[in-house]
């Protein structure tokens, strides 16, 4: 699915999400709900740094961080990672975090889906119709006439 369309769907289904940006792990913006590309780049860079800090903090666990929620006084920042692709979102304070994370993961999952190709219509070879009675009779008559 188109990333912009995927984010538009996310905003439609999740009223708790204020702003969101999809980016590659190194910080390259793929799509965002923000008005300007500068703001999107700023948010993606900050989110990439946050994810990097989370990796370092969780290094003792020796397991990759796949989701993150930072609960601030007046808002939450939520990050979900799927391979090299990451989505970061801001929400109002005390969101239903399970629901928000599910929606973000669904949004990333929609990106991973391959585009639907138009089905190829294979032309089947036409079956030869069995000779009708009339045609068979005519052929028989011709053969018979030739023999006589």
């Amino acid at each position: 699915m188109d990333p912009e369309q995927s984010l538009a769907d996310l905003k439609q289904i999740s009223a708790q999400v204020d702003e969101a940006v999809i980016f590659r792990q190194e910080g390259t913006v793929v799509a965002s709900t923000l008005e300007t590309s500068d703001r999107a780049a700023g948010m993606a860079t900050a989110a990439a740094r946050l994810l990097e800090a989370a990796k370092q903090a969780g290094a003792d666990e020796e397991k990759p961080v796949v989701q993150l929620e930072a609960r601030l006084a007046d808002a939450s920042v939520v990050i979900v990672r799927e391979g090299e692709t990451v989505i970061a979102a801001t929400t109002a304070a005390a969101p239903t975090i399970g629901l928000v994370m599910y929606d973000l993961r669904t949004c990333l999952g929609a990106l991973a889906e391959p585009k639907q190709k138009p089905k190829k219509t294979e032309q089947k070879p036409k079956k030869k119709k069995p000779a009708g009675r009339k045609e068979a009779k005519e052929a028989k008559e011709e053969n018979g006439g030739a023999a006589a």
Binding site: R39, A46, A53, G58, E61, R71, A88
Partner: protein, 68 residues
């Protein structure tokens, strides 16, 4: 027996109102939850150096998203 003054009653009422408001609107504690790929969770608060740095970066994300 001496009756309690109006001032004392007023102070008691104000204290009760403040306690009620505090209970209804607790201060939201800032913290970061990390979810790992095996489903485990680690929480970092403001009392942890890693938590402080992650909260600072989270504020930067929030600021970048909201600045106009």
């Amino acid at each position: 027996m001496r009756r309690p003054s109006w001032l004392l009653l007023l102070l008691l009422a104000a204290g009760a109102a403040a306690a009620f408001y505090r209970l209804r609107n607790p201060r939201r504690r800032e913290m970061v939850d990390l979810y790992f790929d095996d489903g485990s969770l680690a929480t970092y608060g403001e009392d942890d150096p890693d938590g402080v740095s992650m909260l600072t970066l989270a504020r930067a994300v929030r600021h970048a998203a909201s600045s106009r």
